[in-house]
């Protein structure tokens, strides 16, 4: 496959644009997506290509334009609703959970909702508590939704394309710190990434490090550092939280017999807790050591840089913990 080097934001933009070329019923709506080219420039050039009928600047009314998107999806359209941040999408969580997720079931399968909700999630840089929160677990908790967390540019493109084509409501959790990162992206209009499949980042035999979104990057970094200490770590990027790729997790644990789950979210009823439950239910016999989790500090995220950094799991911390477990 031919690869091109692209940033995450450009890959995302290309994924959306390709789907809009393919299907005239796809439109993009959100704050600053059109004339401003996206608050984080993720829709650069799209207004120019598709015009104001399909790339639409909304007022700051998340509840309203989310409901509007869901209503249009009921009619069979395929909206992409962008949030400037999932922190602001809390206002629309009613429409996402009560309308988008549940109507298909409540209507006995008569009313579908093929919609994509996307935007930045989790921590940024020094933006304080109201703008720093990972909502993955909150939405993944809800049947009727799919939730994905692309980390690489290739996954950003492949998953946004799958999300648009999916008949279910799909939430794409991005991160501001990922937008500028570059990576290889396969060329071609029809390269999809399947929703529900984890990404094996690195093979190893001593311990499995499991992460998603930013924490997958920390795991990868930690694995490189661990290699120098003689620990051969396998790294799994969950990539899709709901549906969850349980078999990828179980397969890895059966090989390494040890695991650390890392998250840039809160531990209480969080994603790591869910992964630990899966391991305990489906791979308990394979374990040589208790599974550990490393989560965001259990505090509202502070503004000051040094305080903020202290609340995140750092690669060093993962290394220390892994060495301890493997000893």
């Amino acid at each position: 496959m031919n690869m091109i080097k692209q940033t995450y934001r450009d890959a995302l933009r290309d994924g959306m644009s390709e789907e809009m070329r393919r299907d005239a019923e796809v439109f993009l709506m959100g704050e600053e997506v059109a004339e401003y080219q996206g608050a984080y420039k993720c829709s650069a050039g799209m207004l120019e290509e598709f015009g104001p009928k399909r790339v639409i600047d909304s007022p700051i009314t998340e509840l309203g334009f989310t409901g509007l998107g869901v209503g249009a999806a009921f009619m069979g359209m395929r909206p992409i609703i962008e949030y400037m941040s999932w922190s602001f999408a809390l206002l629309s969580s009613d429409q996402i959970i009560n309308s988008a997720a549940k109507t298909y079931y409540m209507s006995g399968g008569k009313v579908g909702c093929p919609i994509v909700f996307r935007g930045i999630n989790g921590l940024g840089k020094m933006v304080a508590a109201q703008h720093s929160h990972d909502y993955t677990n909150m939405y993944a908790n809800c049947p009727g939704l799919k939730v994905v967390c692309p980390v690489t540019p290739a996954d950003a493109k492949g998953l946004i394309k799958s999300a648009v084509r999916d008949n279910a409501p799909v939430l794409v959790m991005e991160n501001e710190r990922l937008y500028g990162m570059e990576g290889d992206v396969p060329e071609g209009d029809d390269v999809l990434v399947e929703i529900g499949k984890a990404r094996l980042v690195r093979e190893g035999k001593d311990i499995t490090l499991i992460g998603y979104s930013m924490s997958a990057l920390q795991c990868e970094k930690a694995a490189e550092m661990l290699a120098k200490e003689g620990v051969d770590a396998e790294v799994i990027d969950l990539r899709s939280i709901r549906p969850l790729d349980k078999s990828a997790i179980v397969k890895s644990i059966q090989k390494t017999n040890r695991a650390i789950v890392v998250e840039e979210g809160y531990s209480f009823a969080g994603i790591a807790a869910e992964i630990m439950a899966v391991i305990s239910e489906e791979a308990f016999d394979a374990l040589d050591a208790p599974v550990e989790r490393m989560s965001l500090k259990d505090i509202p995220i502070p503004y000051a840089d040094h305080l903020e950094q202290a609340s995140i799991v750092q690669a060093d911390d993962i290394v220390k913990k892994a060495v301890q477990i493997c000893k």
Binding site: Y36, I60, S87, M126, Q130, P302, A304, L307
Partner: protein, 342 residues
């Protein structure tokens, strides 16, 4: 702020207000405004030098709104605003050192380094933040007014928010409740003509000041670049509210000179538009002109106040920079207020 009692009466013509203030009162207002301006400029340059991070929203151009509001309100009235809060915090009596300390993540910061640019509070000074979610502070203000009425206290809540926030459902829901229960709240839309990069014409249908009409909330459009106009409108509105009539709505026609936040180059508007407002409607220039024409103040006197403001800002920066970084132990404090704590 002490204002001649005559100035508290109703005026139909803003111009007639010009001679109702003592020279000293007005000079004090001028000093507040120029200090806010110099302070915000300094914050902008410190940000660019890397002394702070995250989102940082400056108030340059909008100074007459908060200055006029403070002068027209009474001691004990409550103020609440959005993330664009430095000037509101300063006018509530939070020191520049405490604001800068917060911006630079120091132990002396008003929120101990945990809130940052968008989240500053001081209830003792009747300043209730500093809120990051657009529209979110409007219901909060409504609740504060609810408490004041419930307790039969003579307090008006002044709630500031932007033209973008004025589209939010939260605002309309608040209007309904405040009108229904005649709550003592003054809603002040600071219409700076942009909701981030989206011009008013592209995000809002109709007129902001009329948005309370269906609920019976009187509204008025005010020249928010004119200290006297702001002063008069807010004085009247507070009087109306204090008389038990329920909420009022004021739309302040104002303008922000800088980008939405430090990361916004503001390419969505023409330089000439900004320059035109700066040269014709600047709030500090306008007040300066009144001082010179009606109060025999000399240009040198105004320049001296500017110099004084710059010195005060410089001093505050020095103090803020001297303070230690926010204490690591602060990570785990203030999460849950324990029972028995006041």
């Amino acid at each position: 702020m002490a204002v001649k009692s005559a100035a508290k009466k109703k005026f139909n013509l803003v111009k007639s207000l010009h001679n109702q203030f003592t020279k000293e009162d007005l000079l004090a207002q001028y000093e507040s405004m120029i200090q806010l301006r110099r302070f915000q400029e300094k914050v902008g340059s410190l940000y660019q030098q890397g002394y702070m991070g995250g989102f940082c929203h400056l108030y340059i151009g909008q100074e007459a709104v908060i200055t006029g509001a403070k002068a027209a309100s009474k001691e004990g009235d409550d103020f609440i605003t959005t993330y664009r809060c430095h000037a509101h915090a300063a006018m509530s009596g939070i020191s520049m050192e405490e604001i800068l300390g917060e911006l630079m993540g120091r132990s002396t910061g008003i929120s101990k380094g945990k809130g940052g640019s968008m989240h500053m509070f001081d209830p003792d000074k009747h300043f209730w933040g500093g809120h990051g979610i657009v529209g979110g502070n409007v219901p909060l203000a409504t609740g504060m007014a609810f408490a004041a009425k419930y307790r039969e206290e003579d307090r008006v809540t002044l709630c500031f928010f932007g033209d973008g926030a004025a589209d939010s459902g939260a605002m309309f829901e608040s209007f309904n409740m405040a009108a229904l229960w005649k709550l003592p709240v003054l809603y002040i839309i600071e219409n700076n003509h942009f909701s981030m990069g989206t011009a008013k014409e592209r995000h809002a249908a109709g007129e902001f000041y009329k948005r309370g009409e269906p609920f019976g909330i009187p509204g008025k459009k005010v020249d928010g670049m004119d200290f006297f106009a702001v002063y008069e409108a807010i004085s009247e509105a507070c009087e109306y509210i204090r008389a038990g009539n329920g909420p009022m709505l004021l739309e302040m026609d104002t303008y922000r000179y800088k980008g939405h936040s430090m990361s916004d180059p503001a390419k969505y508007r023409k330089r000439e538009d900004v320059d035109g407002i700066k040269t014709k409607r600047d709030p500090i220039m306008q007040l300066g002109n009144v001082l010179m024409s009606n109060y025999k103040v000399k240009e040198e006197d105004l320049k001296a106040l500017d110099k004084k403001a710059k010195e005060a800002v410089a001093k505050a920066v020095e103090i803020a920079l001297d303070a230690p970084k926010a204490d690591m132990a602060e990570l785990y404090t203030d999460i849950i207020q324990s029972n028995g704590e006041k």
